[in-house]
Structures are given as structure tokens and as C-alpha cells.
């Protein structure tokens, strides 16, 4: 089983949108390597004849009556936002261009 390098941690942190300092990258690479070695043992017992389980309770589709109800008021939903504008969430520019 492959181990987890500092470069790999940097790539994963990018995917997860978490800025890490150089010191954090180095420390996390070491720690994650130990953890990954320990958890990799699952692949040895998980043979092809065992089905995967994603959930503790078998549930089929859960449906309810399509009844109208009061949604959260817009002002309540916006109250904790870092920035709002015109009754909406204000976010930074989405695309990296002028």
C-alpha cells in the first residue's frame, strides 16, 4: 500500500480547500503516513465475496406528503452571513479574471 508524501498532502489540501503552512504540511505528512499504514489493514479482510454496507439500518426511499410549510425567513437565513447584498449572500468573485 502506498504511503502518503508531503506533495500528496499538499495536493489533497488543495482539493479540500484548506490552506496549510509549510510546517503543517510536513507534520501532517508524517502523521497521516502512520494513520494510513494502520487503516490500510482493512483491504486484507475485505474480500470480494463481502458486500459493502454504507448505512447501519436498511432503509428504502423515505417519502412524505407534499405539504406546504413555512420556510426559514430570508432575513433569519442571512443574519449570520459574513456579507449580504440586496437580500442575498454576497460572495467573492467566482472566476479568477478581471
Amino acid at each position: 500500500m502506498s504511503t502518503i508524501s508531503r506533495e500528496e498532502v499538499a495536493r489533497l489540501a488543495g482539493l479540500a480547500r484548506i490552506d496549510l503552512t509549510d510546517a503543517e504540511l510536513t507534520r501532517l505528512a508524517g502523521e497521516l503516513d502512520v494513520i494510513v499504514q494502520a487503516v490500510a489493514t482493512v483491504s486484507a479482510v475485505a474480500t470480494d465475496d463481502v458486500p459493502a454496507t454504507s448505512h447501519p439500518m436498511p432503509l428504502s426511499n423515505v417519502l412524505r406528503e407534499d405539504e406546504a410549510s413555512e420556510p426559514l425567513p430570508v432575513l433569519d437565513a442571512l443574519a449570520a452571513a459574513p456579507a449580504t447584498e440586496g437580500g442575498r449572500f454576497a460572495v467573492p468573485q467566482i472566476l479568477e479574471e478581471d
Binding site: L15, A16, I18, L20, T41, S43, P56, Q93
Partner: protein, 503 residues
């Protein structure tokens, strides 16, 4: 007045109903206790003095007007900070949610409010419930009331310590891999992880959605059953909520308290004992088994051979689900927003800066581990294999419950360790949950109750039951509690050192 705080929730409920005390007196006594000892214990992140007293006054007025109230009306409670409370700060122990005031209540909070239970405050926890010592809170350590230099367990160390320090008679916890039961074990208190789906998850800040379950934290088994009955039951707002009615949990606790377990089959899980378990923990466990035999239980050993792989599977499944659930903390709609110090201020770079500044070490560790386990090329080997192990653990439980009505083990392999002792060794920290994790993977309920002391520190005894049979936990738990307290001459917490009281 001060002995009000030492009474059980059941006793307080009776005293409130008879008019012996008022809810204002009871609530005030606990708020005073918090003021006196929480500087040293730090179980609370936020105390709701005014809100709690307002509810207490309302309950007292309604009760004296002759209104029919819930049996627990007027009994105060503490709530773990991962549960959202309308108008009251909810941080989940994270800097990224510092100062966040939720616009709605979790379903279980609505039920506490409907029952007329004053909420004393929000309790400390490992950030987003990731941890076994509460040392991963962004707001400082909670201290174990038995020894302030030691951990109170985690992630719900605040709720367990609050109850152990007599700051609250009851508390709410959440348990994803042991976060109710392991803190109960190391603080000499009681805690239950209900059957998955038994208590609504609506309004819990999600860690791992297929594992998370809220439940009661208390000082007695009966109190846990009483609180479980308040918060449990179907909720249409949680699609994984079970539609079955709750079993008679309180009746089971009262039946158990007679001390008769004739014909009850108790299975000792071979794999959750022995190597890695502290000698004193094993000794208290064996003594408890003798008491169960004496009460008429049929104690047998059962094998669950795949439990040894449960920890590894858990530390793939949990980070995978957490990496997805915590994607919501993006600095856009609520919580912290941090702009990068240089370069263009785009949404993507704001997310990176916000999450880099707002998440603590353990949260970063687990999100990156989960991102790794779910990434292309590794998915089958890691996440896929972990899900297969989950099947094997469930099969082990199914086979074991053919031979036994309940399964038992020590709750945690050791007693409370020193603050800081395992903080730099994540794998050592993860091993604290080795005995509690299998229940979360399989969705079955579990309860921890104190079974004695080892070198002055509490040891926990775990009872596990099949899904939807939570009542068995309370019957067996209450029987063992009664037999142990006969030996001790009172509750274990009566032996805890007195906390220094500050004016």
C-alpha cells in the same frame, strides 16, 4: 439548597411535582454551582442564565396554575455545543463557528423545550466532535472533576464533566464512535448511544452522518432512560429517523433496579478485553460480571472476530463522511470568512484561507485523510474495503445476539489519562474508542455506567443491545448499578474529591 445539585433528575422531578421545590430554585442552584466550579472544570462554553431562569419561572407558574406538565418539567439540562439552539451561540468547539447564532432549534432541543426543561448552557467538546479528550476544542480544555489534571474524555467531555461536577443533573451528548460512552466511563457517569435513528439528527452539526447519534448523559441509569424518552422517537425532518415507537425505556430501568436478571443472557465479547486493557479496568469488569451472575444472568463468552478491524474501518469511513459534511464551512453563508493576505480575492481562495485559519489540527487531519480515502485510485482499497468491514462487523453482532440478549465489555481500555499525554500521537488517541466504535458501525445501541475505581479514577462498563432493543440496556444497566451501589454504600460520584468552590 446546595444538596439540590446532588439529587438525581428523577428525584428532582418528584420534588418539583410535589411542590417541595420550585424550578427557579433548582435552576438557580445549578447556575450557582456553575459559577462556583466551572472556572476550574470549564465544562461550559456558554451559560444561558436569563433564558434558563425564564423557562423555570414559566414552568413554576404553569405548575402552580394546575397545568398538566411533562414529568421532567423544570429539571434543567446542559446541551453539547454541536446541537444547534435558536438564539444561543453554537460553535461545535470550532473557531470557524465562533459567535454563530443559529436561526433554528434542533428537533431534540424543541423536545426539551416542549417538556419545559430549562437549558443551562452549551458544553465544551472536541472540535466538530473529533477526538477522545476534548483537548481538540478551540476554546480550551475541560478538566475531569475526579482529577483536574486529567482529560474528561471526548468528544463530549463538557457534557460528562458538567454532570460529574454537579453543574447539571442531565446533559445531551452525541456519539459517533464513543463520544457519549467514553466520557461517561472516565468521569464516573452514565451515557447512552441510542439505536441509530432512535433520536433525530435534525439540527446536529453533522460529523459522519451514518454514525452520528445523540443521546442522554446523566448520573444514574434511570435518569438516562427518562431523558432518552424525552428526545427519542420519529422525526419527519430526519429521513433516517426510525418510525418504530420507542420501547418502554423507563419501565425497563425500573424493572432492572429490582436487581433480578434471571434468564437474561449476557455475552462477554472476547475481542473487547485482554491485551491493551488496563489491569484495573479488567478487574472491575470481572467483578461486575460476578454481580450479574449473582443476579441470575447467564454469562457466556461470545466471539466477534472482525471487531479487531473495526477501528481501521472507522478511521476511513468517518473521515470520508466528515470531509464531505464539513465542505459546508466555506465562509459564504455563516461563520468565519478570511480573505487571503495577497493575490486575487476569489471565492476559491477565500475558502482555502477561511478553512486554513478556522479549522484546528485534528479537523484538518481528518478532512485530508477522508479526501485521500475517497480520491480516485484509492477509493476501492480504502473506503470500499472499510464498507465491507462494516458488513463483517454487523454480521458479528448478528451472530453474537443469537447467543446473548446483551453484550458487555469495558467501555474504554484505560482510565482518564493526563491532559496533553496523547495529544501528539493521533493513533494512540484513536485507540481510546476501540470498544465503542463497533456499535456505531452497526447502528446498535450502547450504554456506559460506572463500575468502580482504579487508583482513584472511574472505570466504565459497557452494555450493547440489538438495534431497537434499547430497553435492554436500561434493564441490565439499572440492575448492575443497584448491585454496585449496594457494595459502595451509595453512588460512585459520592467518592469524587470535593471541587474547590470560588465565590
Amino acid at each position: 439548597m446546595s444538596d439540590l445539585i446532588r439529587r438525581s433528575a428523577a428525584d428532582l422531578a418528584t420534588a418539583l411535582q410535589s411542590g417541595e421545590v420550585s424550578s427557579v430554585e433548582v435552576t438557580k442552584a445549578h447556575l450557582d454551582r456553575i459559577a462556583a466550579v466551572d472556572g476550574a472544570v470549564h465544562a461550559f462554553l456558554h451559560v444561558c442564565t436569563d433564558e434558563a431562569l425564564a423557562v423555570a419561572r414559566d414552568v413554576d407558574a404553569r405548575r402552580s396554575a394546575g397545568e398538566e406538565l411533562h414529568p421532567l418539567a423544570g429539571v434543567p439540562i446542559a446541551v453539547k455545543d454541536v446541537v444547534v439552539t435558536k438564539g444561543i451561540p453554537s460553535t461545535a468547539g470550532s473557531k470557524i463557528l465562533q459567535g454563530w447564532i443559529p436561526p433554528y432549534d434542533a428537533t431534540l432541543v424543541e423536545r426539551l423545550k416542549a417538556a419545559g426543561m430549562p437549558i443551562l448552557g452549551k458544553t465544551n467538546m472536541d472540535e466538530f466532535a473529533m477526538g477522545s479528550s476534548t483537548e481538540h476544542s478551540a476554546y480550551g480544555n475541560t478538566h475531569n472533576p475526579w482529577d483536574l489534571d486529567r482529560i474528561p474524555g471526548g468528544s463530549g467531555g463538557g457534557s460528562a464533566a458538567a454532570v460529574a461536577a454537579f453543574e447539571a443533573p442531565l446533559a445531551i451528548g452525541t456519539d459517533t464512535g464513543g463520544s457519549i460512552r467514553q466520557p461517561a466511563a472516565v468521569t464516573g457517569t452514565v451515557g447512552t448511544k441510542p439505536t441509530y435513528g432512535g433520536v433525530s439528527r435534525y439540527g446536529l452539526i453533522a460529523l459522519a452522518s451514518s454514525l452520528d447519534q445523540a443521546g442522554p448523559v446523566s448520573r444514574t441509569v434511570l435518569d438516562a432512560a427518562l431523558l432518552h424518552a424525552v428526545i427519542g422517537g420519529h422525526d419527519p425532518r430526519d429521513s433516517t429517523s426510525l418510525t418504530d415507537p420507542l420501547p418502554d425505556l423507563v419501565g425497563a430501568a425500573r424493572l432492572g433496579a429490582t436487581g433480578d436478571l434471571t434468564g437474561v443472557r449476557v455475552g462477554v465479547v472476547h475481542e473487547l478485553n485482554g491485551e491493551g486493557y488496563q489491569a484495573g479496568v479488567r478487574a472491575r469488569f470481572e467483578e461486575a460480571l460476578d454481580l450479574l451472575r449473582g443476579a441470575g444472568a447467564d454469562v457466556v463468552e461470545v466471539g466477534c472476530p472482525h471487531f479487531v478491524h473495526a477501528l481501521a474501518a472507522y478511521y476511513l469511513i468517518l473521515p470520508s463522511e466528515a470531509s464531505s459534511n464539513l465542505a459546508r464551512f466555506d465562509g459564504m453563508r455563516y461563520g468565519l470568512r478570511v480573505e487571503p493576505s495577497d493575490g486575487p480575492v476569489t471565492a476559491e481562495r477565500v475558502m482555502g484561507a477561511t478553512r486554513g485559519a478556522g479549522f484546528g489540527d485534528e479537523v484538518k487531519r481528518r478532512i485530508i485523510l477522508g479526501t485521500y480515502a475517497l480520491s480516485a485510485g484509492y477509493y476501492d482499497a480504502y473506503y470500499g474495503s472499510a464498507q465491507k468491514v462494516r458488513t463483517l462487523v454487523q454480521r458479528d453482532f448478528a451472530a453474537a445476539f443469537e447467543q446473548a440478549d446483551v453484550l458487555v465489555s469495558p467501555t474504554a481500555p484505560t482510565t482518564a489519562f493526563k491532559l496533553g499525554e496523547k495529544l501528539d500521537d493521533p493513533m494512540a488517541m484513536y485507540l481510546n474508542d476501540v470498544a465503542t466504535i463497533p456499535a456505531n458501525l452497526a447502528g446498535v445501541p450502547g450504554l456506559s455506567l460506572p463500575s468502580g475505581l482504579d487508583q482513584g479514577l472511574p472505570v466504565g462498563f459497557q452494555v450493547l443491545a440489538p438495534a431497537r432493543a434499547d430497553d435492554r440496556l436500561y434493564r441490565v444497566g439499572a440492575a448492575l448499578e443497584m448491585l454496585l451501589e449496594q457494595q459502595w454504600g451509595g453512588p460512585l460520584l459520592a467518592q469524587a474529591p470535593e471541587l474547590e468552590v470560588t465565590a
